[in-house]
């Protein structure tokens, strides 16, 4: 039995209305209303179509959202499928795989084996194995959801300080440093320094400052 306060209801893991939870392990949670979780949260599938505010760390198997998610601590998940707006104010987001068609804002580091983003990721660092960020507002989700347009405003690119991965494929990304083995810098990118240990492609519509390749290093 889930203990909660508020004017909503929780039945079989479905959260409706406005609900405040303490932390804990809640199994699968489906948030259709407005949920605030005050302590660390562990969940299986965390499916958020409404508004979610985690005031501590959130750990789950699968984060799916078309809604608005704010996490004051860190986020750890096996899979994240983001079609809404997720903001993580802790130091890190850790995942095996992140698919982001919406917006992901992280105060610190995003670490994942695979990142496949058609939306926007703003973070201090993004690190992992295969990172593809193709930021643009012409995708289905940005056409459909006003809140996504509002979330990015006039921004038409992701902003990241450092990207490090084995394979990096970017479009519409502004970054200070991009390092990796196999790097593609696509149109709309503005990168201060690129350091590629094997392959490097830079589109003619990208702006790149310093380029370091294996032969030069």
């Amino acid at each position: 039995m889930v203990s909660f306060k508020g004017v909503g209801s929780v039945e079989n893991g479905n959260v409706n209305g406005v609900v405040i939870f303490p932390g804990g392990d809640y199994g699968d949670l489906n948030v259709n209303g407005v949920a605030t979780v005050q302590g660390p949260l562990q969940a299986g599938v965390l499916d958020i179509d409404g508004v979610f505010h985690g005031q501590n760390d959130v750990t789950c198997e699968n984060l799916k959202t078309t809604g608005v998610v704010n996490i004051d601590g860190n986020l750890q998940t096996t899979l994240a499928n983001i079609q809404g707006v997720v903001s993580v104010h802790g130091n890190k987001v850790e995942a095996d795989r992140i698919v982001c068609d919406g917006v992901l804002n992280v105060g610190g580091q995003v670490s994942a084996d695979t990142i496949d983003a058609q939306g926007f990721i703003n973070a201090e660092e993004i690190v992992g194995d295969r990172i593809s960020i193709q930021s643009h507002t012409s995708s289905f989700f940005f056409k459909m959801w006003t809140k996504l347009k509002e979330a990015v405003g006039n921004q038409n690119h992701s902003i990241v300080d450092l990207i490090e991965a084995t394979t990096v494929n970017l479009r519409g990304v502004h970054a200070r440093t991009v390092s990796g083995q196999d790097i593609t810098i696509g149109p709309g990118c503005k990168i201060d320094k690129v350091d590629a240990s094997d392959k490097l492609f830079i589109d003619e519509d990208a702006e790149v400052g310093i380029v370091i390749t294996k032969a030069e290093a």
Partner: protein
């Protein structure tokens, strides 16, 4: 050539680590996420072109060698368990070394035995109290070593029996 603030001989830059070991960014960060490489080994420092990350040279090279030697036969969680045991032993050694009146030579003379031991935190404290008493009573160093080793072994067996 990139200008960076030189690392000390005891450190290795992340870039040099990848070059030297041949591991990829993906492997390094996966192992870090899975707790096989401690987060606090990654130390960022300013460089002329931004920031560079340095790691403790010997520890990270040894750690990567250990992970590689185990990864074909063990799952990552099994590897983590083995590495936690190594960390425990290292921690125990550090606790003994940090005791103000215990010498490194003395701890190193116990080190071979430490491999077999699994002491609780209270067990380690008890060993240190015993050591202080032996020193205070001016017990011969050979006898000290023998008594400490026996005590650690006895307490370790007791700890393992409690866990079992």
């Amino acid at each position: 050539m990139e200008n960076i603030i030189a690392n000390t001989p005891s450190e290795i830059s992340k870039k040099e680590l990848l070059d030297r070991t041949g591991i990829s960014y993906g492997q390094l960060y996966r192992w870090k996420r899975q707790g096989l490489i401690p987060e606090d080994w990654f130390q960022k420092r300013s460089s002329y072109t931004g920031q560079e990350t340095f790691l403790p040279r010997e520890r990270i090279l040894t750690r990567i060698k250990s992970i590689r030697s185990m990864k074909d036969d063990l799952t990552l969680s099994e590897i983590r368990e083995r590495l936690e045991n190594e960390l425990y032993k290292e921690g125990l050694r550090q606790i003994l070394l940090n005791a103000s009146d215990i010498s490194e030579d003395f701890v190193d003379s116990l080190e071979l035995n430490l491999d077999e031991f699994a002491l609780s935190e209270n067990g380690v404290k008890a060993v240190l109290v015993l050591y202080s008493a032996l020193v205070k009573d001016q017990i011969d160093i050979t006898k000290q070593r023998e008594l400490i080793s026996q005590t650690i072994k006895t307490m370790s067996v007791s700890t393992q029996a409690e866990k079992g």
